[in-house]
Symmetry: D2
């Protein structure tokens, strides 16, 4: 039963190498998590255990993939950033997206009982989809992350007041939706404060800012702008590509031993990046 | 904190719609399963529980995705076939590959304790990668499946004799490898039979043929060739595309209720397909 | 001045191999031909010389590329069909589209003085864009060509009556447009006949049907349906792929010597294809 | 003859939008120019008229496409650079590559009699293929151009001595090839000088450096480094994207009126770029 007569079918596989020297984002999203959150009675507007589980799975992904330099997550989504110099899986798009999604899923399901000991899983199980997005410049990458964090804020503010109106204001979901349909952010803040004594800024940072996951080394001093902070990348495309194999292996090892920090901090402004210059430089 | 100034980053997402009217194969592969099989002491050359777990996860994928018409697996890989008329996820490649890979992974990890009650999982966890491959014709698709089944046979024959030589013939792995390096299939069969009294054809079909997973309806009578069996597809591209939404929903429902069969049979010859015409016709 | 330090830039070139065993259409379109037709005072609704020039350029493309099995053109566009078994340029999309577009353009400009001896070209020159489109089945391919020929008919009927209303009916272009905005095909036919004594079906076939360009061998007898006419392709993917190099070269030679026919005939119905079975079989 | 039943075939066209905020290179190459150079008896190692014709066609491309910021050519190839902020043709790869290739071809054929009045063209005509390549950073783009210019130098040095050995040294082509097979650049220089009194550095710059085509405005003063010369791009991705339509139109007009310079100068070092800051800034 020689296999040669069938092997021509391999030619139908198409290459999908991602453009070199660009930042790779793999963003994964929970599939049908609205339904899932009902099935397992997640607390509204935020379920602490569910978010902790997402973060724990993200930390596991970072541990298994030293090439991931940062993760950012909120709600049922997570973005994982690969340095633009990465050559993991020869930058094959499908390999990167499926591997990250699968690893995240494995840990999510594996860790579920730890975070929801009283709520055993049953099919259909939680799952995720994923995709690769490329950003050519550090600025574009940071704007991507700013977009996700601003989105987290917008959604959380909305959800916080919506559920307050329903749970404590005795509005129906429809009434609450109508009440919020045209209000500005500041009007929402006011509504929360005047109506319910809630200062939105005192809400947990985890809910307002999402979660940032990265390798923790010693912080750089405050206020010392990193040279070319906003675009440290343009200069080193070729250099990093030619980083010796030994050096690359060594860096990988250092990274794989680093502690993974999970924080709920602003990543839109410069401060976060200036004090952690190793994240964007790709040098651990 | 308006989000609009960052939203331009969405334009960097690129579309990856798969060519219409072509068969879609999503093939997933275990990552680092050689190491995994050592860690969990899988039996060689075949670990029945590990294969049963793969099949159980595949059945779960079929249940969650009525659009999958057939799965074929052996060792640590599985191929899932979508009918060429599918419009699931608008045929977006990354969505299809990541969702299938994630769902499979979720069930694999979830079901692990059922199949390995004495071997609890620990990180790094099992995970899979995946990719989409397109086949324009039924013939190409069947040749793809034939390629995988022939590959299963070739590998299993090799592994069977290799492990027999090591375990019962007291050869070192290197000696066994050397002994097998140039032998033909028939010489291998002979070696098994003469040396160890093993008739390869009596080995379990699951190991020799792999596993086919599909929806089981009533078999068609033997020997009645389905009209255009080898290429029933060319004629109905447009027609199926224009299948009314109601009809499509109805078909989906029928499919999602069908029993999923797991069999270890030949899918290279015509018989399997002729007796199960609904698989390639896409009509349940 | 060693070049090696710069050569890494080659890695940014991305492969774009088209899926094997699918029909390739390269369709080219005139850029800004509305303006061009004014500049060179093309006759309305059809300029015979302009169409003859398009056809002459298409014939030249067919002569230079034996792999092109058929061309179909109308107005300022032309579609060139490569057999699904072609391996020209390893099926690289950009190579195929740019080469065909460039060759067509070269001949269009070169032959211009022959067809417009009194209207010398001046910059900006006529140019074309092009793209590759894949069709997995013969049926899809024939429907593509039917789409173009039906489009030719629809546009030509509209243009014929529009220009008749303007030139002979003394309507302004706006009035003519308004008059035609809701009329059906049959109403348009009637309007032409009643108002101006024009029987649309007596208009030149070249204008009503466009132009088909193909290699002319001896026609098959009428009414003998070619076996599997509508889907002769499913069966021979692998076989043709494995056509020996010598045989392929020989076929190419036969094809490159064949006379190129330019006809204005129906290619929507089966007759054209049944009597010229070599076109879709790819066997000259 | 409604067209609707065929229109589904449009869904088979696939989008090919190039990643935003990356430099686009369209490189075109002469097809079979080795044969062509024999047919029309081009002078060896360089035919001045043939190169002038290439440059004239390139200038025409720049005139018709204000979005092209620079062209670089040598031998039978030309690279055209689009600013990373361009949105021409929505950045569709096939549209960009075919249009540039077609326009270049049109002018090449049209201008041929001007440069070769005694050598009328005959089929097969000169034609070109083309492709798009993306570069994420200015540095990568400049390295691409450096690669092409270094390649020009290497080839020209080789061809100069090869043809000198054949024409004046009475070596056969095979002997000349053998003599050159292992020589370094400096040995080649020496060979030219000692053997034939030729100082390679006195050869025409057009042959040694190729041709740069760009819009000529007033040069910036020498030695004043442009801020961020090597990476002026990272900062303005979003800004330029949001350039108002009116402003963009105005810039386009300014550019389309500029004189096109054709020069044979070094573009590997910084000087060229520092004195012409408008090229990479995209601001005319």
């Amino acid at each position: 039963m020689a296999n040669s007569k069938y092997e021509y079918v391999r030619e139908f596989e198409q290459t999908d190498l991602l453009l070199p020297n660009t930042w790779i984002v793999v963003r994964i999203d929970g599939r049908g998590f609205h339904k899932l959150s009902t099935k397992y009675a997640f607390e509204k507007p935020n379920d602490r255990s569910a978010l902790d589980l997402m973060n724990a799975a993200a930390v596991s992904v970072m541990k298994e993939f030293p090439d991931v330099i940062l993760g950012y997550g909120d709600s049922d989504e997570y973005s994982f950033i690969f340095h633009k110099s990465t050559s993991l899986f020869q930058r094959r798009a499908s390999k990167l997206s499926t591997t990250i999604t699968s690893t995240f899923t494995a840990h999510y399901v594996y860790l579920w009982p730890t975070y929801f000991p009283m709520k055993p899983l049953s099919p259909p199980l939680p799952s995720f989809d994923g995709r690769c997005v490329l950003y050519p410049t550090t600025k574009d990458l940071r704007n991507y992350l700013a977009w996700r964090q601003a989105d987290c804020h917008i959604n959380n503010l909305y959800n916080t007041i919506f559920h307050t109106l329903v749970l404590r204001g005795n509005l129906s979901p429809q009434e609450a939706e109508a009440a919020l349909s045209t209000t500005t952010a500041s009007a929402k803040n006011e509504m929360l404060f005047q109506g319910f004594g809630i200062n939105y800024n005192n809400e947990p940072e985890m809910y307002r800012k999402g979660s940032v996951v990265y390798r923790a080394y010693e912080l750089a001093p405050v206020g010392v702008p990193v040279s070319g902070n906003l675009n440290p990348d343009d200069d080193d495309g070729a250099e990093r590509a030619s980083l010796s194999k030994t050096a690359a292996e060594k860096e990988k090892k250092i990274r794989s031993k680093a502690r993974i920090a999970v924080e709920h901090v602003d990543i839109i402004k410069d401060d976060f990046w200036e004090r952690r210059p190793w994240i964007l430089s790709g040098k651990s």
